[in-house]
C-alpha cells in the first residue's frame, strides 16, 4: 500500500523574522520534526513528525516557534469527527490496536469541578495559616478500634503506618515506563517534603535503595524485580491489581525499552518484552488476594503496611469492602482518568468510572459496614490541583496519589506519546540521549516546589473553613456543596446542593 491517508496533526509555525537558525530545535527534537538544510543554511520543519510536546518552543532562544492544531478540516460533522476518521485511517493501514499515553482526555464531566468548598463567616472564625498552626500530617495504615493505655504507656503498639507531611504521594510509575532520572526526581522530592513515591511494577533501581524509606514498592502481576531485599527496602508494599488508565488489562513494556539497567532492575533478559498479565495468576478471587497480602506481611514480619491498588470500576464499593476484609491496610483507587505510559486508546477512554463517585461510594460503604477506620483510602486518577485534594479529603480520602501532575512538574507537556519512548523531556524514555535532559536535582526541586505550593494552598482553604488539622476535613462532606449536579449524583457523592 503506497497510499497513506495520514495528514499532520500539528502545524509548526516558525517566525522567520526571529529564527536565527541556531538549530537548538533540530538538536532537541527526537521525532526529527526539525532539520537543517546545509545547502540553504537554514532550519526547516516537518509537520508530519510533530507531536506538539513544546520542547522546541520552550528552548528556542528567540521565541521564533509555535505549534498549532493543523488547520486541515473535514466537512463539519459532529458525529464523524476528525479524530474518529483519522483513527480509522490508521487502523485500516495497520490492522493494529490504537495506543496512547497519559489519561482519558474525553470531555466527560469532571465532578471535582461540580463541587464547591465551604468557608467560615461570623459564627465561626476562619484561621490564618500564616499566624496559627495548621496541620496536614496524615497516617496511612490500619487503625485499631481503640487504644489501651497502661501505666502511661501504650499497651499495644499501633500497626505499621506511613507518616505523610501532606496528603499527597507520587503514584506508581515504573522504571521502564519512566526514566531513572524521573524516578530519582520524585524520590528526592518525596524525601524533601515528607511523603512517598511508588516504584510501580518496575522494581527498585540500585541507586534508589538509600531512599527505600520513602518508597512504596509494588508487587504487580508480572512480579518484576520482586525479591527479599526489594520488599525489605520499601516503607510499604502495594499489590497492584489494576490501574485507571487500563482497567482489566495487563501491561506491556516493549523490548527496546529494556536496556541493561531496566533488565537488571526488573530481573528479565535485556531486550525482551516485559509482559504483565491482566490478572495476577495467583489471584483469581478475594481469598487469593488475602493469601498474597498475608504472604507479603509474613515476608516482612508485619512491619510494613500493605496496600492494594485497583481501578475504579462499577462495583468498586463491594470490591473495596472485600479488600479491607482481606487484610489490606491501604486501598488505592485509580479513577478512569488515571494516566499511564501506554494503553489501548479505547480502554483508556471508555472503561472505568470517575474517581469522585468511586471514592464517595467506597467511603460510604466502608462506613456503613463499620470498617472505614481499619483501612486507609488513597485516591488517584487526575488530581490536578490542591482544591481537588481538599475535595477528595472532604469526600473521605485519606490521601491522594498524583502521577500526571508530578510529571508535568518535571516538564511533561501532555503530548500523550509516552508509549513511543521518544519523550523529549527525558521522562517517559530510556534513550540515554533523552534521559539526560532531566536533571534529577532540578526535577526534585520542581516536584518538591509543587508539593510545597499545594501545602500552602490546602492550608489556606482549611483555615478558611475554620479547621486547623486535616483530619477534621476527612469525610466531612458538609464542607462540600454540589453545583450543576442531578439529585442522583448528589446522592452518590453524599453532598448537598449549593444553597441548601
Amino acid at each position: 500500500m503506497s497510499l497513506s491517508m495520514a495528514t499532520p496533526a500539528f502545524l509548526i509555525e516558525r517566525n522567520l523574522d526571529r529564527c536565527i537558525h541556531c538549530q537548538v530545535c533540530v538538536r532537541q527534537c527526537a521525532n526529527e520534526a526539525h532539520g537543517y538544510d546545509h545547502e540553504e543554511q537554514r532550519v526547516y520543519s516537518d509537520d508530519m513528525r510533530c507531536v506538539n510536546c513544546h520542547r522546541c518552543v520552550v528552548l528556542c532562544p528567540t521565541r521564533a516557534l509555535s505549534v498549532r492544531q493543523f488547520p486541515l478540516e473535514f466537512r463539519a460533522n459532529a458525529n464523524w469527527t476528525a479524530e474518529v476518521i483519522h483513527n480509522i485511517y490508521l487502523q485500516a493501514a495497520t490492522g493494529g490496536i490504537l495506543l496512547t499515553g497519559m489519561g482519558n482526555d474525553r470531555p466527560y464531566p469532571i465532578y471535582w469541578d461540580h463541587m464547591l468548598i465551604n468557608a467560615s463567616q461570623v459564627t465561626n472564625p476562619s484561621i490564618d495559616p500564616l499566624r496559627e498552626p495548621m496541620e496536614l500530617k496524615t497516617f496511612l495504615g490500619r487503625k485499631p478500634e481503640k487504644i489501651v493505655i497502661e501505666n502511661g504507656r501504650l499497651k499495644e503498639a499501633l500497626p505499621p503506618q506511613l507518616e505523610l507531611e501532606l496528603p499527597v504521594m507520587f503514584s506508581a510509575m515504573s522504571f521502564g515506563s519512566i526514566s531513572l532520572n524521573a524516578m530519582k526526581s520524585l524520590a528526592l522530592a518525596a524525601e524533601a517534603e515528607g511523603t512517598y513515591y511508588n516504584t510501580g511494577e518496575g522494581g527498585l533501581h540500585k541507586d534508589l535503595y538509600p531512599l527505600g524509606h520513602r518508597t512504596i514498592v509494588q508487587v504487580a502481576s508480572g512480579r518484576f524485580g520482586v525479591h527479599p531485599d526489594y520488599l525489605a527496602a520499601g516503607a510499604a508494599i502495594e499489590i497492584k491489581i489494576g490501574q485507571g488508565a487500563k482497567p482489566g488489562i495487563g501491561g506491556h513494556l516493549p523490548g527496546e525499552k529494556v536496556g541493561r539497567e531496566v533488565s537488571e532492575t526488573r530481573m528479565i533478559p535485556e531486550g525482551t518484552d516485559a509482559l504483565s498479565p491482566a490478572p495476577h495468576h495467583d489471584i483469581y478471587s478475594i481469598e487469593d488476594l488475602r493469601q498474597l497480602i498475608y504472604s507479603l506481611k509474613e515476608a516482612t514480619n508485619y512491619s510494613k503496611p500493605v496496600s492494594v491498588k485497583i481501578a475504579a470500576v462499577h462495583n468498586v464499593a463491594a470490591i473495596a469492602s472485600g479488600i479491607a476484609r482481606a487484610g489490606a491496610d491501604i486501598i488505592a483507587i485509580d479513577g478512569y482518568r488515571g494516566g499511564t505510559g501506554a494503553t489501548p486508546l479505547r480502554t483508556r477512554d471508555h472503561v472505568g468510572i470517575p474517581i469522585e463517585f468511586a471514592l464517595a461510594a467506597v467511603d460510604s460503604r466502608l462506613r456503613d459496614e463499620g470498617i472505614r477506620n481499619q483501612v486507609s483510602l488513597v485516591v488517584a486518577g487526575s488530581i490536578r490541583h490542591s482544591a481537588d485534594i481538599v475535595k477528595a479529603v472532604a469526600l473521605g480520602a485519606d490521601a491522594v496519589y498524583i502521577g500526571s501532575a508530578a510529571l508535568i512538574a518535571l516538564g511533561c507537556h501532555m503530548c500523550q506519546k509516552c508509549y513511543t519512548g521518544k519523550c523529549n523531556w527525558g521522562i517517559a524514555t530510556q534513550d540515554p540521549n533523552l534521559t539526560k535532559r532531566l536533571n534529577p536535582e532540578i526535577g526534585a526541586k520542581r516536584a518538591a516546589n509543587l508539593l510545597k505550593a499545594w501545602k500552602h494552598e490546602i492550608k489556606e482553604m482549611l483555615g478558611g473553613m475554620g479547621i486547623n488539622a486535616l483530619e477534621s476535613l476527612r469525610g466531612n462532606r458538609l464542607m462540600l456543596r454540589g453545583i450543576g449536579l442531578t439529585d442522583r449524583e448528589l446522592n452518590i457523592l453524599g453532598i448537598k446542593a449549593a444553597g441548601e
Partner: protein
Amino acid sequence: MVGNDGWARPWELQGNHRREGSKRIPSGCAIAGMINRKGRTMSGVDAIQSIALMHDRSNGLGGGFAAYGIYPEFPEHYAFHLFFDDHKAREQTESFLNQHFNIELGGPIPTRKVVGISGAPLIWRYFAKPKLEQLRVAEMKEDDFVVNMVMFINERLDGAYVFSSGKNMGAFKGVGYPEDIGEFYRLDEYRGYIWTAHGRFPTNTPGWWGGAHPFTLLDLSVVHNGEISSYGANRRFLEMFGYRCTLQTDTEVMTYIFDLLLRRQGLPLETAVKAVAAPFWSTIARMPQAQREVLTAIRTVYSSLLVNGPFSIVLGSSQGIMALNDRVKLRPLVAATKGDLLYVASEESAIREICPKPERVWSPRGGEPVIGMLEDAMPKAVPAPPVTVCHL
C-alpha cells in the same frame, strides 16, 4: 400544638415537622458550671443567677441546666425526662417504657407559669430500671440497653423525645432565656452537687425544646458554646459506632464522643480530652518518648474525633465536671476556685456574681481541661426535699 396542660394550642406550632435535625444549626452561647468537690449540694438559685448575668450571650431561643445529686431517693433508677408533643405520644411511649422497664414512679415535671416561656410541650419524668428478662434477651449491659432504648424512642417514636436519662441527675431545658427556664422548672427547689447551665444563641432554630442544651446521654451532660467545623467528620465516625445524630447539633456530637471514649472504650478522661482537643504535632514532637507514642497513637486512631473549630464546653457526669476549650482557644472560658467549689463560666463576671471573692481565677489554655472530680467516688449528698411525683 399542645400545651403542658395537654390542651391543644394550634397557634403554637410545635411537633415533629419543626423538630431540629433537618438542618445543621450553628450557635453561639453562654455556659457555666460548678461543683462542690465534697459532694455537698447547692440549690439551683446560684446556677440561675450565674447564667442570668450573661443574658446578652443568649437570644431567648434556648436555655437549660443539668444537675447532679438531685434524686437521692432514687439513686439506682434511671431518671428519664421526656418531652411529648401530645398525650397520644405520651401513651405510646409509656407503653413502650412499660414493656422494657419497671417504672417506679412517673408524672409531669412540676413547672410554674413564667412570662416569656410559652409553647412548652408535655414534660414528664419516670424513674425506672430495665426489666431483667429484657436485658437477658438483648444480651446487653444495663447502660448499653438504656442507650439503645433512648436512641429508639428519639428516632422512632413520633412526638416523644428523651432529654435526660441518667441516674440521680437530670436535665431541664427549653426555649427561652435560661433564667426563665430555671424559674419555669422551679430549680430553686432542687439541690445538687454539680450544676451546669446554658444560654443559647442559635443562628437558626425551629424553636424546639429538645434542641436546647444541655444534651445528655445516661449521666453524661454537655453544655457547649461554639461551632464545630469538624462536625461532618466527627459525626460520620460516630455513626460507625452506631450513634445516630438526629439533632444535627454540635452538642449532641460532643456528648457521643465522650460516651464512646469514656463509657464504651473505658479510656481515662485525660486521654479522651487529648483526642478531642489534641496537642499540636509540634508539641508532641517535644515530648518524652513514651508520652509521644501515646499522643501519636491517640491522634492516629482517634483523628476523626478531633473537635475542630471554636468551642468551650462543660462536661458533667456523676463523678465530676470537666471544662475544655478548643486547642487554639477561640471561645471564652474562665475558671475559679473557692474552698471545695470549682466554678467555670464563659465570663469571669458570671462567677463573681455568685462567688464574689474566689481564691483563684484563671483562664485555662486551649486544649487544657479544667477537671473537678468528687473527692469521694460516692457522693454523700445532703438529702434534698422530696420531688413531686405521681404514680402512673
